[in-house]
């Protein structure tokens, strides 16, 4: 994986920050997206595409920038700060899977389309479980050289508004392959739900849906793609959470400076000043976790990578969740309103925790890692 130069990366983040401030402010941009239907791609996707971000992590031969995980995190931090909920990040991860596991022909076909914004992909990972049921299984079977998928997924983000779904599915000989499935076919039934952060998810039922396998299901690159997607996903989500917490801390400090009770600014109360100090300490821990999560992506030893990634997830999730709870608390009743952005950061964080498994998920992974070491 290559990386952008320090200057290029910084100027990209700066341009993104400026564009989001101008075109995606909370009241005039972000809030309007909450009225979108499940099949409507968010308008902010065009903004990201316009900045060339679709090619962020793709090599130049496919029309990309050749950015790396640190660049991905810089973008995610800005998206977290602006409360962007869009399939962009999923598409970025899917592009990495295509790059690792796809056949050369698939890469030539899919990657330029992704870069140009003509193709969006959602990851149909298993992010939820049915009550009273086992995990969700999707199987793939080949008939007359065509793959057909059967099974369910209980919570797939952006499924209604993307072109393709990238689905890990088990073949008859027990291998797990990555399958690209056109989202809008009759054999993919969707039941849409809006979540508290405004994102759309869907329960999916694959009923013999046609798809193509990235490369061939037998080869090791499929598993390598799974590992990379997991590590990148944690690295990106940690950075997004950090951006959200940084923005919420700024808002909180501004609020404490102006709000007066008992004849003085709230920011003059030592108890509240200490709380702000603790929030700042938590944020420093989260910042370090973002770096650790990036290093996990590059770690040579797979066990070391998993451990480092789970540690980063644990610390970042705990720190940011707490900071966002305190941000609401220090805003008092105002923090409880839908009108203010501060509560929306917490809503987003609840979704990120559910997506990654949050603290309990990280702990379970770490325990497993320790047991197998």
């Amino acid at each position: 994986m290559t990386e952008l130069s320090r200057e290029d990366s910084a100027s990209l983040a700066e341009a993104l920050c400026k564009a989001l401030q101008e075109q995606y402010a909370f009241a005039s941009g972000r809030k309007l997206e909450l009225a979108n239907g499940p099949g409507q791609p968010p308008a902010v996707s065009a903004l990201l595409s316009g900045l060339g971000l679709n090619g962020l992590m793709l090599p130049e031969i496919h029309g990309g920038f050749g950015g790396g995980v640190a660049d991905l995190q810089r973008v995610q931090r800005e998206l977290g700060r602006a409360l962007v909920v869009a399939p962009w990040f999923d598409s970025m991860l899917a592009a990495q899977a295509v790059l690792l596991a796809g056949a050369p022909g698939q890469q030539r076909e899919l990657l330029p389309a992704l870069v140009e914004g003509n193709l969006s992909i959602a990851l149909a990972l298993d992010t939820g479980t049915a009550l009273d049921g086992a995990g969700q299984v999707v199987t793939a079977k080949q008939e007359n050289a065509v793959w057909h998928l059967k099974g369910t997924r209980s919570s797939v983000f952006h499924a209604g508004s993307v072109d393709q779904l990238l689905v890990p599915a088990t073949t008859s000989d027990g291998n797990v392959g990555w399958f690209l499935v056109p989202a809008k076919q009759a054999e993919v039934r969707q039941r849409a739900h809006r979540l508290v952060d405004g994102s759309w998810t869907a329960e999916l039922a694959f009923d013999g849906a046609q798809g193509e396998c990235l490369g061939s299901p037998e080869v090791a690159s499929q598993a390598a793609a799974s590992r990379l997607i997991h590590l990148l996903s944690i690295a990106g989500r940690c950075a997004e959470a950090l951006g959200a917490a940084e923005a919420a801390l700024e808002m909180t400090v501004q609020y404490l400076r102006t709000r007066k009770q008992f004849g003085q600014a709230l920011g003059d109360y030592q108890a509240l000043r200490h709380r702000v100090a603790e929030m700042y300490i938590a944020l420093e821990q989260a910042r370090s976790s973002v770096e650790l999560a990036a290093e996990a992506v590059q770690a040579k030893d797979p066990g070391e990578a998993r451990r480092c990634s789970a540690q980063a997830q644990l610390v970042a999730s705990e720190a940011v969740t707490w900071v966002l709870q305190q941000a609401i608390q220090l805003h008092g009743g105002m923090g409880m309103t839908e009108e203010l952005a501060v509560g929306h950061y917490y809503r987003r964080m609840l979704v990120l925790n559910a997506l990654t498994g949050g603290v309990p998920g990280a702990l379970a992974n770490l325990a497993q890692e320790e047991a197998s070491a």
Binding site: G128, L131, G133, G135, S155, Q261, G335, V351, A364
Partner: protein, 391 residues
């Protein structure tokens, strides 16, 4: 572990049997799922309680109450929480009733108490204002006396259920020149009066339970003043002190914890039931232990014939610890429910998966450490108490 007298045990059984037969199954399911009760739910439940003679556990018998001791009231609230079933109407019964009984005129008692009890009218509470949250005594909503009326002008905020309440009891400023606690009066206002406007506040859970209420020169009969003019602050303090029996919310949190365990046993995570996961068990067992201790704290504080200052401090202990444990339990529930538990209701409400409304309930639980005196304010009260009373 609590040794309970035979009389209390018998009462508990009686209440449990009553809840079993009278609490509508569909309504109970909605409460378990974490949904808000509707106005009709509250009215019909209050009438059922009333018919049984339990409409007002905290009022003396002569006014139609159950005349129960603090402990009997607590047993009743515990059983309601465990069912779950709503407590008697909080604004009518827990808050306003005792104020009228203690400070209202005989005419006011005769007029209002039966209506409060039977839910013929529903009240809401108009205390907080935009600039007066924790610092309640700085409130500014003005009530100027003109002949037999007060002319009320100003604004209230965070008014739960104002959009369906019939009346509102308000703290108003009747003497702008007096020191801040001294110019406040306690006034009952008909929500249908000309000049009253209710504006919804949508909270971070996306639901509507809170409101702003605007009063534009609303004319209120002077007969609606409770007690004496400019003594309203004392009445408000009395009213807030009466929340002591329910403030810790132990039974409510226990019910939520039991629900988290039930859902965890029905959820597969990492190849087994989530209820067997060591992390889940460590959290739920810890919460259970802390709730047991808080329950004892609550009983100790109710039982002690303590000085008023200690009673106030005790209420703050119960509020802070009670809301912390409640919020930690709601964190646990959110983790159990996963993405399914983060859904917003569609136009027809929530779907059938019982986990769906838990996310919005979790979001609303963040208010528990803010309303009724933010936990930071409770800690100021406690710190003052500890320093004042430590030799």
């Amino acid at each position: 572990m609590r040794a309970e007298s035979e009389a209390l045990q018998a009462l508990r059984q009686e209440i449990r049997a009553f809840l079993d037969t009278e609490m509508d199954q569909e309504f109970r399911t909605r409460l378990r799922r974490g949904e808000f009760p509707k106005r009709d739910d509250l009215v019909s439940w209050q009438r059922k309680l009333c018919k049984r003679g339990w409409g007002a556990p905290n009022w003396p018998k002569e006014f139609g109450g159950a005349g129960w001791s603090d402990f009997e009231q607590l047993v009743f609230l515990e059983e309601c929480s465990a069912a779950p079933a709503p407590a008697p109407h909080v604004f009518n019964v827990t808050m306003l009733g005792p104020v009228l009984i203690k400070f209202g005129s005989p005419v006011q008692r005769e007029l209002w108490l039966p209506k409060l009890l039977s839910a013929e009218v529903l009240f809401c509470q108009g205390f907080s204002e935009t600039g007066s949250g924790s610092d309640l005594a700085s409130l500014r909503m003005a009530a100027m006396r003109e002949g037999d009326e007060y002319v009320v002008h100003g604004q209230k905020i965070w008014t739960t259920s104002a959009h369906y309440a019939d009346w509102i009891f308000c703290l108003v400023r009747t003497d702008p020149a007096a020191k801040k606690q001294q110019g406040i009066s306690f006034l009952l206002i008909d929500m249908k009066s000309p000049g009253v406007t209710v504006r919804p506040i949508i909270s971070i859970d996306g639901r509507h339970s809170l409101n702003e209420v605007f009063f534009d020169n609303v004319r209120v009969p002077a007969a609606n003043l409770v007690g004496e003019e400019n003594r309203g602050w004392d009445y408000a303090r009395f009213l807030l002190g009466n929340e002591r029996a329910s403030i810790a919310g132990v039974a409510r949190t226990r019910e939520r914890l039991a629900y988290a365990r039930e859902l965890a046993s029905r959820t597969t995570r990492n190849g087994g039931p989530l209820s067997d996961d060591p992390g889940f068990r460590s959290r739920s067992l810890r919460l259970e232990a802390e709730l047991e201790a808080l329950d004892r704290t609550q009983y100790r504080l109710l039982g002690e014939q303590s000085a008023p200052a200690e009673r106030v401090a005790g209420a703050s202990v119960l509020k802070v610890k009670g809301t912390e444990l409640f919020q930690r339990t709601m964190d646990l529930l959110a983790d159990v429910a996963g993405t399914t538990g983060l859904r917003l209701p569609g136009e027809a409400g929530f779907d059938e998966d019982p986990r769906e409304p838990l996310g919005v309930a979790h979001l609303y639980s963040r208010a528990a450490s803010i309303y009724g005196g933010a936990n930071e304010v409770q800690k100021n009260i406690l710190a003052k108490h500890v320093f004042d009373t430590t030799p």
